[in-house]
Symmetry: C2
């Protein structure tokens, strides 16, 4: 334990030192490093695949479930996608160093804000080797040092990718400690990492609810957390019926396992009867299991009765809970009580209701007449995302390069003193 502490401490210390270098590196140098890393990943494709095969074999032997195995497994296409992802990050504008409008104050000083990297970012993630490259690249581009701690099931894959990153940094003349992949698979390493407040500026956990709850509870370092998505679509009585059905279907069935998938459909009493029967058929055709409130079950007799726990559930599966509510106020009350603050959408043709819903629903993304599935960094134009924050402070919603930076005040004087 003390040896582990020493190891993590030295990782932290090196990261902090490297952070000062990368914070002030020119955009061109950072982009060059990213290009070298992308090249190296392409060159090392077969080595990466060999390492990955070891992980997959071990995962199969230890009975890892199919979904996890799928996330873990790489093939030529997936390795190619990793290096393409890096090249996309090269194309993004560098947020570091941006100066916001400078204002002159009555005292004569000029005051503005400069965007700067956060410093050292700790990322804790599960067994998805692509996250190693992706997270490292986003941190690097925004001028941060990173400490990456991936799932032990992907250890060989992660180390193979880490070797490419180290080589790329080296080729660009940057300290290799700008990106460090934690080598030990000791679970206590996470506990150390999230408490190293002298070295780490923020922790970003990517993974299941259990991981994130543990990290949030034990961390001494601030956490940008992505808790879970219990997302809602509310169909107002003034909605266009075809639009409502199309959005409700897409929000649930376009993908089941994502955090921005709708988990509960709310319908105004005035429209429920008109669209629920057809919608239920569309869902059933796709194999979605429906669990409804009493009124829903009256309209769709085949619908299973929802229990109270259904309203708080993130199914991440072809299951949908449905509730008929009196009006938008009741829908917003339901969201306030059961939502996770991730993403909610209203379908309505009514201007006032649209504006009120946008203003009053307290979630990281609030939508009008659009599928919740759009809540994602690429769709929003961030060029990538390191996660979707359900925090209220600092970064809320999809977190891209900007979310990995902060702003400091800058003051330009010419000998000004305070009177």
């Amino acid at each position: 334990m003390s040896e582990l502490k020493d190891y993590m401490y030295s990782v932290g210390e090196r990261a902090k030192r490297a952070a000062r270098v990368i914070a002030n590196a020119d955009t061109g140098v950072k982009n060059q490093a990213l290009a070298f890393i992308a090249d190296e990943i392409e060159h090392q494709q077969s080595a990466i695949l060999q390492a990955n095969a070891l992980d997959v074999k071990a995962g199969q032997d230890s009975g890892l479930d199919a979904a996890l195995l799928d996330r873990l497994a790489l093939n030529e296409e997936r390795v190619q996608a990793i290096s393409e992802g890096l090249r996309q990050i090269i194309a993004l504008p560098d947020p570091a160093g941006e100066i916001s409008q400078i204002n002159s104050r009555p005292s004569g000083i000029k005051v503005g804000q400069m965007r700067v990297p956060l410093g050292v970012i700790g990322i804790i993630y599960e067994s998805r080797p692509n996250v190693t490259a992706d997270a490292a690249a986003l941190c690097l581009k925004s001028g941060n040092a990173s400490i990456l701690r991936g799932g032990s099931e992907a250890k060989h894959s992660n180390q193979a990718i880490a070797a490419c990153i180290t080589k790329g940094l080296n080729q660009a003349g940057l300290p290799t400690e700008v990106v460090q992949v934690v080598e030990t698979t000791d679970r206590n390493a996470v506990g150390e990492l999230i408490r190293m407040e002298d070295f780490v500026d923020v922790i970003i956990p990517r993974g299941g609810k259990g991981l994130i709850e543990r990290v949030t509870k034990e961390a001494r370092v601030p956490v940008i957390k992505h808790l879970h998505g219990v997302c809602h679509v509310y169909i107002d009585d003034l909605a266009d019926k075809e639009m409502a059905k199309s959005i409700a279907l897409n929000a649930k069935t376009q993908r089941y396992g994502t955090c921005n998938t709708m988990e509960t459909l709310l319908l105004a009493e005035g429209i429920a009867k008109d669209i629920l029967p057809e919608l239920a058929k569309l869902y059933t055709d796709k194999g979605v299991e429906l669990r409804g409130c009493e009124k829903t079950c009256q309209i769709i007799p085949s619908c299973e009765k929802a229990v109270e726990a259904d309203w708080d559930e993130e199914y991440l599966a072809p299951i949908l809970s449905i509730r008929v509510v009196d009006d938008m106020t009741a829908a917003m009350d339901h969201i306030h009580q059961h939502g996770s603050g991730h993403t909610e959408s209203i379908v309505t043709a009514d201007y006032s209701k649209a504006v009120q819903f946008l203003r009053e629903v307290d979630s990281s993304s609030v939508m009008v007449n659009a599928s919740t599935r759009f809540a994602d960094g690429f769709e929003y134009g961030l060029g990538g995302e390191i996660g979707i924050s359900t925090n209220k402070l600092h970064a809320r919603g999809p977190v891209g390069l900007i979310g990995l930076t902060t702003q400091k005040y800058i003051v330009l004087g010419d000998g000004h003193i305070r009177q």
Copy 2:
């Protein structure tokens, strides 16, 4: 203890309910409430002064030190200043509801960000009754509910001001739970408040280092903390000598007890001999005790020798540590090692050094050719401040109304679904 928990829980629950109302209140209504509160404080001046006299008497009897008694004591002028402060907040623009530029995305959706209140803000402060009105007003204007927990030494004063706030909210037709002043003086109330993550969105501690360290350590709710200010002025060898002396004198002596006061003066070796003798005389004339490094003591023989601990000290007093450094890099290394990330200033006529210092020094305010004493919400044009954050995340530097808000994404569609 369980009774206290119940009480704090009910305070939190009421705040959370009130937060939904105030978040969506019109600017006009919020301003009206602030005007009613300001009026009421003026009307109740004698009642407030009577309550304050009880606190001051108790403070004197229990041997409160002179500085604390001075902060605690109100008089007609100070009460007037409190209501004037409220009227100034009325004049500030309302940050809530502001929508940032909306961009069209290739999918057809339009994506922007809306600024919204944080929700419930807990403020823990020491015995300064003016903070009760000031903090309540900033939270109210930005659309947040607040839970205020002042020092027990000011309990009568705080309750008298709280009564005015309650009346003003009531007159404006707002729930009185928008601002709640914790009634118990039980110290454990703070412990409860900072752990009520279901009800409180952010904690802002205002007070000494001890309070803030305790809150930071024990809190489960995110904290906007203002730790301490070990601020530096670095005089470069290319500085204008008269400007350098004027800034160095102002940064230390304009006020001693503030967090943006310079505590350590750094001078490039090339200029130290030229200006230190005269500067030392100016400081000594003002009664400032000097503690210098070896080189400083060679130039100013009367200077006391600094010990290692001096470089980390926030004196808040007429004491200054002085260090002669090789160059700007050495100065930045010193700041990196000993600074608290609050405010640093360089005095130089050199463009490249100015730019490099602005970029590389990792503090909440970084200045060129200006006194560190400018680091404050009023001087920066924020119209007021609820504290100066030494956090990197969310708000950094002086925190005004904007720092009490967050941004959520809004998506405007017209039936858009994800392909």
